[in-house]
C-alpha cells in the first residue's frame, strides 16, 4: 500500500472520462453547454406550461432522443455526410413537395407530414440539408466561388426556400436562406457580390411585401406598432414585453411568472418561453442564458476553424450561425425588436422535430471534431 502519494492510475482503473468520450466521439465542452441549457429549459418549461409534469416529461424524452441521435450521428465520419448531403437534399425536397399536397394543415399553414407514429416538418430537414449540400458542392470548387458557383448555390437555396415559403412558413424559409447564404459568405463570397445582392434585395423589398400573406403583413405591421391593437394582433408582443419588463434585474423567481401562470402570455411554453424565463430569472438570468448560447456558438466556431477540410468548416460555420440566428430571432421577437415569426428558442422551447434535429446537428460537428485523420502537409 502506498500511503505517501495518490494512488496511481493503473490499467484496472479503466479509461479516463476524456478517453471514454473520445472513443464515443463526444465533445465534452459542447455536451456540457448543451446539457446546461437543456436543464434550464426543463425547469422553465415546468413553470411555463402551468406546472404540467407531463409536458416536461415529453420534452425530457425528446431531449434524450435528441442526445442519443447526436451521439449516433457523431459516430459517422464526415466524408459520409459529404457524400450523403445531396441525397438528404433530394429527399427533403421530395417531402416538401409532398407536404404541399398531403400536408396536415395547422394554423392555416401546411407544414406537417403525418407518418402515423411520427409527425414532422420536412422543412426542418432542409435547414440541415441545405448548408450541407452547399458546403459539399463548394468543397469541390475552387474558392472564392465564381459566378457559376454562385448561380448553382442560388438555385440550391431558392428551391427549398420557395417550397417552404409556399406552405407558408416565412420564418423557416428565411432561416434556410440565411443558412445557405452564410455558407456562401464563409466560403469567401466576394464583397462586391455581397453588396450587389444586398442592393438587389432592398430593391425587391416592395415586391416581396406584396406577395406576403395577410397575416404575415399583419405581423410586420404589428411589430412596427404593437400598441395599435393590444388585445388583437399586438397582444403577443405587448404581453411578452410586460413579462420581460416586470422581471427586472433579479426576476420574480422560479414558478412566479404571473404572466404565464395566469394565461396572459400566449404560447408561453413554445415560441414565447423566453419571456417566462426573463420574467422569473430577471436580467441576470437572461445574461447567463445568453452566455451559455454564445458559448455553444463559440465552441462550434472553434470546431469550424479546426475543420480539416472546407466541407467541415463550411458546415460547422453554417450550423453555428443558424443556431445563433435562432437564438437571436427568438429573443429579438419576444423582446419586441423583431417581427413575430414562428421561431422557437433552441433547446428550451417545447417542440418535437426541431429539437431532435438541432441536437443531431451538433452530433455532426462532434463527428468533424473527433474523426481526425492525418493530412500530409
Amino acid at each position: 500500500m502506498n500511503t505517501k502519494a495518490k494512488p496511481k492510475r493503473t490499467e484496472q482503473d479503466g479509461p479516463t472520462l476524456t478517453e471514454v468520450l473520445a472513443r464515443w466521439h463526444v465533445d465534452l465542452p459542447l455536451l456540457l453547454l448543451l446539457l446546461s441549457v437543456s436543464i434550464i429549459g426543463l425547469f422553465t418549461l415546468y413553470s411555463a406550461s402551468g406546472h404540467e409534469f407531463s409536458v416536461v416529461m415529453g420534452q425530457f424524452m425528446r431531449l434524450l432522443l435528441g442526445l442519443t441521435a447526436m451521439i449516433l450521428v457523431a459516430q459517422v465520419p464526415s466524408e459520409w455526410y459529404r457524400v450523403a448531403a445531396p441525397f438528404f437534399y433530394i429527399i427533403g425536397g421530395i417531402l416538401l413537395v409532398l407536404v404541399l399536397f398531403l400536408g396536415d394543415a395547422a394554423k392555416g399553414a401546411q407544414r406537417w407530414l403525418d407518418f402515423g407514429i411520427l409527425r414532422f416538418q420536412p422543412s426542418e430537414i432542409m435547414k440541415l440539408a441545405v448548408p450541407m449540400t452547399i458546403a459539399a458542392y463548394l468543397h469541390l470548387r475552387p474558392l472564392p466561388p465564381r459566378w457559376m458557383d454562385i448561380i448553382v448555390v442560388g438555385i440550391l437555396i431558392a428551391i427549398p426556400v420557395g417550397l417552404v415559403a409556399k406552405q407558408p412558413d416565412l420564418g423557416t424559409s428565411l432561416l434556410i436562406a440565411a443558412a445557405g447564404g452564410f455558407v456562401l459568405f464563409m466560403a469567401g463570397l466576394r464583397w462586391r457580390f455581397i453588396i450587389v445582392m444586398l442592393v438587389a434585395f432592398a430593391a425587391a423589398g416592395p415586391t416581396l411585401w406584396i406577395n406576403l400573406h395577410d397575416y404575415q403583413q399583419q405581423r410586420v405591421l404589428t411589430f412596427l406598432d404593437p400598441e395599435r391593437d393590444p388585445s388583437g394582433a399586438g397582444y403577443h408582443i405587448t404581453q411578452s414585453k410586460i413579462a420581460i419588463g416586470s422581471g427586472g434585474l433579479l426576476g420574480k423567481g422560479w414558478l412566479n411568472s404571473s404572466q404565464a401562470k395566469l394565461d396572459f402570455l400566449p404560447e408561453s411554453h413554445t415560441d414565447f418561453i423566453f419571456a417566462v424565463y426573463a420574467e422569473e430569472m430577471g436580467l441576470l438570468g437572461v445574461l447567463l442564458l445568453l452566455a451559455l448560447y454564445c458559448g455553444i456558438v463559440a465552441r462550434c466556431l472553434f470546431i469550424a476553424l479546426r475543420g480539416q477540410d472546407m466541407f467541415q468548416r463550411l458546415v460547422a460555420g453554417g450550423l453555428s450561425f443558424t443556431f445563433f440566428l435562432y437564438v437571436f430571432i427568438n429573443m429579438g421577437m419576444v423582446a419586441g425588436i423583431l417581427p413575430v415569426v414562428g421561431v422557437p428558442l433552441p433547446i428550451i422551447s417545447f417542440g418535437g422535430t426541431s429539437l431532435v434535429i438541432m441536437l443531431a446537428s451538433f452530433g455532426i460537428l462532434m463527428s468533424f471534431h473527433t474523426h481526425r485523420k492525418l493530412i500530409s502537409s
Binding site: G188, S246, S258, L301
Partner: protein, 635 residues
C-alpha cells in the same frame, strides 16, 4: 485534390475562412449587444412601468358596495329601509351574444324598457367583467323560472341584494325622497370612486340632500384573475364603510296627522319646532309612491305622474311659491312698529277702502263697509286691509322688502332639503331690473296685503312664523337631527346654523303682534275663531286668503261661485302653545277658499296631534317588495 487544372491553395482558403469567421463573430457580437441593450432597457429602465402593467393584468378590483344608511324619524320610526330582494345580474364578458341573451331572458322574466336603459347606461361605463343589474325586485315565481333555466344562461345569475323601501310611502314622499339609478350626468359631478359599481343615488328629499352621509364608502376586493377573467384567489379585501343611519327631526305621527288632514286636497303643511328649527312635519299633497322610482319607474307610471294636472311630483312646501295674502300682516305690523310708522295702540279708520293721495283709484277692504276704528292688534284679528294699505304706503316697498327679508320671506331658508325655491318680495330696484319700469305706489299697497308681485313658499312662511313665536331666535330650519354609525352606534348630532337673531328695537313689539295673533283664534271677532272651540292650549295664528286671479277691486265675488282653479289659496300660519311655543306651522290649501274656514281647521288637527298626543293610529305599514311572498304564504 486538384480540380479542373486549378491548383487549390488550402492554406489560403483556411486563412480566408478564418477572416470570414472573424467578420461573422463581429456581426454576431453586435447582434448580441443589441439584444442585451434591448433586454436591459425592458428589465431595468422600464421595469417599474411593466411591473404596474403586470399587476393591472392580473388584478381584478371588485367593488363591494356599502349598505345605504337607514332613515328614521326622531323616535326611531323607519322612514327608509333596506329590504332583501332578488336581482337579476349579468357579467357582459361572460355571456357570448349579449343581445341574444337579453332577448332570451326577456322571455322568462319581464325586462322593461327602463330596465334595459339602466343596464345599457351601466354597461357603457363599467368594466366588462363586472356583474351588472338587469332587473331588480324579482318575485319568487320569476326567481324559480330562471333557476330552472339557468344552465342556458352562463354569466347570468340571480343575486340577493338590498332594495330601498319606504314604509310611509306617499305620506312622506316629498320629505324623505327616493333613490334611483345613477345617471351619467350625476356621475360627472360626483366622486366617481365612491360610485363605481353602485346602483342607487338619492334623487330627491332627504335621500338627495344627505346623500353623502347615507351613501357610505365602497370597499373593494382585489382578486387575481387569469386572462379569461376567471377569479383565482383573493389578494386584498377592504370592507365597505356603510352609510350612516340618519335620524330626522320629523315626528312620523305628526307627519301622518298632517298628511291625513290634507289628503284629498292640494297644498302643503309644514310644521317646525320654533326653538330648534327642526322640521316636525312636511307634507305636500297630492303625493306619489316613492317606491315606484327605486327600480326605475316605467314610462306609463311616469307619464301619469308628470301629466297629472295637480302635479304630485311638485314639493309644494319648498317649491310652490304663492302670494302669502293676509298671513304677511303680522310681519307688516312688526315692520311698522320697528320703523316707527305705527304705534301699537294708534288707531286708524277703516271705511272699506283706501285711495292714495292724488289718486282716484280705490283699494278695497275685503269687508264691505270696513272695520271702523282699527288699531294694530285689531287689524290682525280682523285682517283689516285698509290698515295695511296705509301702513304700506307709509313704509314704502323697499323698507317692506328689507324687513321681510330678515324673516327669510322671498329668500331661501337654507333648509337641508333639495330644490328649494326663493319666492319673491319685490323692491323698486327689482322692478327696474326686471321690467325696466318704475315702481308705482299702488303696487306697494298690494304688497302690503301679501298680493301683487309677492310670492313665498310654505317653508318660508313657517320659518317666519317660528321666528315670531321664538322672538327672532329660531335657528335655520332643518330636518337632520343626528347621524348614527350603524356599527358603533356613535351619534353625531346635527348642529343647525344659528343665524343672527332678528332683533327689534323694542321686545314689546313681539308681544303686541303675538297678542293680535292670539286674538285671531281666541276672540269671537277673530278670523280663525272657529278653531278655538274646545282647544286646550293657546294658539296664535293668522289666516290668509290669497287671490289667484287679479279681480276687480270694484265688486265682490263669492269664492264658491268661482271655478276651482280660480279660487283663492287658503293660508293659515300659527304657533302654539303661545306661552311656550312647541310647534309653528303653515297650512296651505291651494284653491281652498278661505284661510279661516279651510286652512285653520287642519292646523288644529295637527296641533292637537302633536301637543295633546292625540295621534292617529299608526297606519298599516306598506307591504314591501316581497309582498308576493307574504301573500303566497298567507293563502
Amino acid at each position: 485534390m486538384a480540380n479542373e487544372g486549378n491548383i487549390r491553395d488550402y492554406s489560403l482558403e483556411r486563412r480566408m475562412f478564418a477572416t470570414r469567421t472573424v467578420v461573422a463573430v463581429f456581426i454576431m457580437f453586435l447582434m448580441v449587444l443589441a439584444l442585451v441593450a434591448r433586454l436591459s432597457y425592458l428589465q431595468l429602465f422600464k421595469h417599474d412601468y411593466f411591473s404596474i402593467r403586470s399587476d393591472d393584468n392580473r388584478m381584478r378590483v371588485e367593488i363591494v358596495p356599502p349598505v345605504r344608511g337607514l332613515i328614521y324619524d326622531r323616535n326611531g320610526v323607519l322612514l327608509a329601509d333596506n329590504l332583501p330582494s332578488y336581482r337579476l345580474e349579468l357579467v357582459p364578458e361572460q355571456v357570448g351574444d349579449l343581445e341574444a341573451t337579453l332577448n332570451r331572458l326577456a322571455r322568462l322574466i319581464e325586462i322593461r324598457p327602463v330596465d334595459l336603459e339602466r343596464f345599457r347606461s351601466r354597461l357603457k361605463r363599467e368594466p366588462k367583467f363586472r356583474s351588472l343589474p338587469v332587473r331588480g325586485l324579482l318575485n319568487p315565481e320569476e326567481v324559480a323560472r330562471f333557476e330552472l333555466n339557468r344552465q342556458n344562461f352562463p354569466g347570468v345569475s340571480i343575486v340577493a341584494t338590498l332594495t330601498r323601501h319606504y314604509p310611509l310611502g306617499e305620506t312622506a314622499a316629498h320629505l324623505v325622497g327616493y333613490v334611483g339609478g345613477v345617471t351619467e350626468r350625476e356621475l360627472a359631478e360626483l366622486d366617481q370612486r365612491r360610485y363605481q359599481g353602485i346602483s342607487y343615488i338619492g334623487k330627491t328629499g332627504v335621500e338627495q340632500s344627505h346623500e353623502s352621509v347615507l351613501h357610505g364608502y365602497p370597499g373593494h376586493k382585489v382578486t387575481e384573475a387569469n386572462a379569461a377573467g376567471r377569479l383565482l384567489r383573493q389578494i386584498e379585501y377592504r370592507p365597505p364603510k356603510d352609510g350612516q343611519n340618519v335620524y330626522l327631526t320629523v315626528d312620523a305621527r305628526v307627519q301622518q296627522a298632517a298628511r291625513d288632514a290634507l289628503h284629498g286636497k292640494e297644498g302643503a303643511i309644514v310644521a317646525i319646532d320654533p326653538k330648534t328649527g327642526g322640521i316636525l312635519a312636511l307634507v305636500s299633497e297630492p303625493s306619489y309612491d316613492p317606491g315606484l322610482f327605486v327600480e326605475g319607474i316605467d314610462h306609463a307610471n311616469y307619464k301619469a305622474l308628470t301629466t297629472n294636472p295637480y302635479r304630485p311630483l311638485l314639493n309644494r312646501a319648498l317649491q310652490g311659491s304663492f302670494p302669502p295674502g293676509s298671513t304677511v300682516k303680522p310681519f307688516m305690523a312688526l315692520a311698522g312698529l320697528e320703523y316707527g310708522v305705527i304705534g301699537s295702540h294708534d288707531s286708524r279708520a277703516c271705511r272699506g277702502g283706501y285711495s292714495l293721495p292724488g289718486s282716484s283709484r280705490v283699494f278695497r277692504d275685503w269687508k264691505k263697509g270696513g272695520h271702523g276704528t282699527v288699531d294694530m292688534r285689531y287689524s290682525i284679528v280682523v285682517s283689516c286691509d285698509v290698515y295695511y294699505y296705509m301702513l304700506g304706503a307709509d313704509l314704502g316697498v323697499d323698507r317692506i322688502r328689507d324687513f321681510l327679508t330678515r324673516f327669510s320671506l322671498g329668500v331661501k331658508t337654507g333648509v337641508d332639503l333639495p330644490s328649494e325655491r326663493s319666492g319673491l318680495v319685490p323692491s323698486q330696484a327689482w322692478k327696474k331690473a326686471n321690467f325696466k319700469e318704475k315702481w308705482y305706489a299702488g303696487e306697494t299697497l298690494s304688497v302690503a296685503i301679501g298680493q301683487g308681485y309677492m310670492n313665498v313658499t310654505p317653508i318660508q312662511l313657517t320659518y317666519a312664523t317660528a321666528e315670531i313665536a321664538n322672538r327672532g331666535q329660531t335657528p335655520r330650519p332643518h330636518v337632520l337631527l343626528e347621524t348614527r354609525d350603524p356599527i358603533t352606534g356613535q351619534r353625531t348630532p346635527f348642529v343647525p346654523e344659528v343665524r343672527e337673531p332678528i332683533r327689534l328695537s323694542n321686545n314689546q313689539y313681539w308681544d303686541d303682534v303675538i297678542q293680535g295673533m292670539v286674538d285671531v283664534v281666541h276672540t269671537s271677532s277673530g278670523t280663525a275663531q272657529r278653531i278655538a272651540r274646545g282647544v286646550k292650549y293657546k294658539i296664535a295664528g293668522k289666516t290668509g286668503t290669497a287671490q289667484v286671479i287679479g279681480m276687480s277691486q270694484s265688486h265682490y265675488v263669492r269664492s264658491e261661485d268661482l271655478k276651482k282653479i280660480h279660487r283663492d289659496h287658503a293660508w293659515f300660519i300659527s304657533f302654539a302653545p303661545v306661552e311656550d311655543p312647541k310647534i309653528a306651522m303653515t297650512v296651505l290649501v291651494e284653491h281652498g277658499g278661505h284661510g279661516g274656514s279651510d286652512a285653520a281647521p287642519l292646523a288644529r288637527i295637527v296641533m292637537d296631534a302633536y301637543l295633546l298626543d292625540q295621534l292617529p293610529p299608526p297606519s298599516e305599514p306598506k307591504p314591501g317588495p316581497n309582498e308576493h311572498e307574504s301573500q303566497t304564504q298567507a293563502n
